[in-house]
């Protein structure tokens, strides 16, 4: 590694970053790696907008009285926090950034099947994002991220249509990304790259794509009907005019529950890659791991009404949905057990990505188990619409997905940028995020169990201590999120130059240069080995 830097800085290898320069070469690119970086920039921007709203929410909840924000403003804050984070950060996070960058390389292809559609997806995302920004800047929206009717269609005078349109358009970006991945995995694999040799990251993004393709259109038409109802004063979901709000909830959650799996499955893929690499072992139970993500994707479509237990659906329907929700725990538990078993007797090194993977496994387990609490009818009635639910899904989405996303960004940073991130800073940030996260959200489990409802700007004074803890945690978390921003940018210029395989990891992406050339490989590779063949890899001492 150091040899290369010393001898040949002038004859720098041509790669996807230095092949062309200028804004045009980025905005009109069809290279999946460059599009991944466009997404990286855009979703980071939205992450900080969503984070800003979160910070205002936590500051308001520092005291029991409604002092910093008024009730209406507070409603807007949590609504826009949810919409921005879910639709403009979490859903595109791993698929559109890491998936875009890695899937073609991992299967030995030159690009995704439809490079121009890939660019179109990004433009759709940006157009949707502009609508969202318009909504935010012209006064916001306060429906809650769920757009529940008839509140969203009859009673609010905010920018509901613009927000719905924003999500509608961003949804098509998500659909096209999923479509591209599905066709790519089916049709673009290199010779010898059979389905049973695919990295689990590819499997989990494939499963995610199935959900994106099947679920998102239903959300699209549902939001369209909400918009039409508002524009033309129709009664589609308005009970006064014969419409059925429950129908809206069914349609909404038919997408939005599977969407939760859009927000976790790709993270599971990242963790599988990281855990095997830093345990120096083949993944335990490869086939089960691959089938489990497909099982989660399929079962995910059969459990939506567990969001409606307290909304007045029939008891028998609720019982079926409760049971089916429990089934999701089976493949999820298989994942957790197999990661743990992979580590067992492995030679573990505690690099930054591995710390995030540890964080993911622990926090996802907590989020998953508390998911079983709320899937149980009796307990759900007690904790519905309390902070217990808020804590539960933040453990999955933030403790799970954001951890995995950051772990993945660190793991593949040498590949993406050609530079190493500073390891000590990386570990420090991972630790701060883990502590900040738990301090923010663990008290919310307790608060919810004690009965503090969500979505209120005021609360009874006896809840204050736990809320102060939570707000303190949120500020720590914010520091943790800012750190990688700073040192990753720093490393692009000053980081140690990475060789093609700094982790001595298995997988095709580590067999090409860092950063890769525009067409990924000088020659289309032929695969003759199984995934994660760590026992066959030569142990090269890794320079750290």
């Amino acid at each position: 590694m150091s040899m290369a830097t010393l001898t040949a800085p002038s004859a720098e290898r041509e790669n996807y970053l230095n092949q062309e320069y200028g804004i045009r070469s980025w905005l009109l690119t069809t290279d999946h790696k460059r599009i991944a970086l466009l997404y990286l920039l855009s979703i980071t921007f939205f992450f900080f907008i969503g984070g800003f709203f979160a910070l205002l929410i936590r500051l308001e909840l520092l005291t029991p009285a409604g002092d910093l924000l008024q009730a209406d403003t507070y409603n807007k804050m949590f609504t826009m926090h949810g919409q921005v984070m879910v639709f403009f950060f979490l859903i595109p996070a791993v698929p559109a950034v890491l998936g875009n960058f890695l899937i073609p390389i991992m299967i030995g292809a030159k690009d995704l099947a439809f490079p121009r559609i890939n660019l179109l997806s990004w433009y759709l995302f940006i157009i949707g994002g502009l609508f969202m920004l318009y909504t935010i800047l012209t006064g916001g929206v306060d429906t809650g991220w769920t757009f529940y009717t008839p509140l969203s269609t009859q009673f609010l005078d905010t920018h509901v249509v613009a927000a719905a349109l924003a999500i509608f358009i961003a949804g098509f970006s998500s659909i096209l990304t999923g479509l591209n991945f599905i066709v790519t995995v089916h049709r673009m694999r290199a010779p010898g790259m059979t389905w049973s040799r695919l990295p689990l990251f590819v499997w989990s993004n494939y499963a995610t794509s199935i959900i994106q393709v099947l679920g998102t259109p239903v959300l699209a038409i549902t939001l369209m009907l909400v918009a039409l109802e508002r524009i033309f004063k129709l009664g589609i979901f308005n009970p006064q005019m014969g419409g059925d709000p429950l129908l809206f909830q069914h349609l909404f959650w038919f997408y939005s529950h599977p969407a939760v799996y859009i927000m976790i499955l790709p993270g599971m893929g990242v963790v599988s890659e990281v855990v095997t690499c830093f345990s120096r072992k083949r993944i335990f139970g490869y086939k089960f791991m691959a089938l489990a993500v497909i099982a989660i994707a399929v079962l995910g479509f059969l459990v939506w009404a567990h969001h409606m237990f307290a909304a007045g659906i029939s008891l028998y329907a609720a019982m079926i949905f409760s049971l089916l929700s429990y089934f999701v725990a089976v493949p999820s538990a298989i994942k957790v057990f197999n990661w743990t078993t992979t580590m067992y007797k492995g030679s573990i090194s505690y690099m930054t990505p591995m710390l995030y993977a540890f964080g993911f496994i622990g926090l996802f387990t907590m989020g998953g188990l508390t998911g079983l609490f709320v899937a149980a009818l009796g307990i759900d009635v007690h904790v519905t619409d309390t902070y217990f639910v808020v804590a539960h899904f933040h453990y999955i989405m933030v403790g799970g997905m954001v951890m995995a996303y950051l772990g993945g960004i660190h793991f593949w940073w040498p590949k993406i940028s050609g530079r190493m991130y500073p390891e000590a800073w990386g570990k420090l940030a991972a630790l701060i995020i883990f502590i900040g996260f738990n301090l923010t959200f663990f008290p919310q489990f307790v608060l919810g169990y004690l009965g503090m409802p969500r979505r209120y700007w005021q609360y009874s004074p006896e809840f204050q201590v736990l809320n102060v803890l939570s707000t303190a945690g949120a500020t720590i978390l914010a520091v943790g999120y800012l750190l990688p921003m700073v040192y990753l940018l720093w490393s692009m210029r000053y980081g140690k130059v990475a060789n093609e395989n700094p982790w001595n990891a298995a997988g095709l992406e580590w067999m090409t240069a860092s950063p890769p050339p525009t067409f990924n490989f000088d020659q289309t590779p032929t695969v003759t080995w199984e995934a994660y063949n760590y026992d066959e890899l030569k142990e090269v001492p890794v320079e750290r």
Binding site: D111, I117, L179, H186, M188, P217, A220, L225, F232
Partner: protein, 225 residues
């Protein structure tokens, strides 16, 4: 997959750089369109689901609404669309055989049928508008259950409206490939766009094949009550 690249095809000008053969390119494009059509089924599925729920819940209002549909226009439009599907299929076949003139002619006829469908739909829309059957903007219903019949018409306008939008997009796509075919872009080894647009066109027809009985036929002769 990529290892069966025929040597000649590799140098074909239509082959995009990231595919290894025209065959792989065609397979990928066709599969992409199929996946897209699945998303379209889910998109329309939301409305079909709502239609079903409310039809079951407000049966007599649905019957009353259905009887305002003129099934003669609906039948005529069904025939028009089926004919357009035939000419589209013939266009794809001509493309496979590499007959440039035939592709252009069949595509032009398809466009005419498509425009004919939209024209007839426009006549129907005009009629409904004139009789104040557009909920919200222009609504008057002399009989009972006005708001429930309005619900039926909401679905009628939304379902046929989104279908018509798909028709407009379809006519645009067919016009584009007709122009490309006229310029001689397609031959027996490369006709992917014709095939893919053909799939889309047939899909939009199939949506209508479901809309037609649900909106025009199902309660046509039924006495409400």
């Amino acid at each position: 997959m990529s290892d069966r690249a025929p040597a000649i095809a590799t140098h074909s000008p239509e082959l995009e750089h990231h595919f290894s053969s025209l065959e792989q390119q065609l397979e990928a494009s066709v599969m992409g369109m199929w996946v897209f059509l699945i998303t379209e089924i889910m998109f329309f599925g939301g409305m079909f689901c709502g239609y079903m729920v409310y039809r079951y819940q407000y049966y007599s209002a649905w019957v009353a609404g259905s009887q305002k549909m003129d099934f003669r226009w609906g039948t005529l439009n069904t025939i028009v669309l089926l004919c357009s599907s035939l000419t589209m299929a013939l266009a794809v076949r001509s493309a496979q055989l590499g007959r440039r003139k035939a592709i252009v002619i069949f595509l032009l006829i398809t466009i005419l049928f498509g425009l004919g469908f939209l024209g007839i739909k426009g006549i129907e829309y005009h009629g409904h508008w004139a009789e104040h059957q557009f909920p919200g903007l222009n609504w008057a219903w002399p009989e009972a259950n006005s708001h429930l019949v309005a619900l039926f018409f909401s679905f009628y306008w939304a379902m046929t409206g989104f279908h018509a939008l798909h028709m407009v997009i379809g006519v645009g796509l067919v016009s584009w490939i007709a122009y490309q075919a006229w310029k001689g872009r397609y031959h027996s080894a490369y006709y992917t766009p014709v095939e893919v647009v053909g799939l889309y066109w047939h899909f939009v027809d199939i949506i209508w094949i479901y809309l037609y009985p649900l909106l025009y036929l199902i309660s046509h002769k039924h006495i409400s009550g």
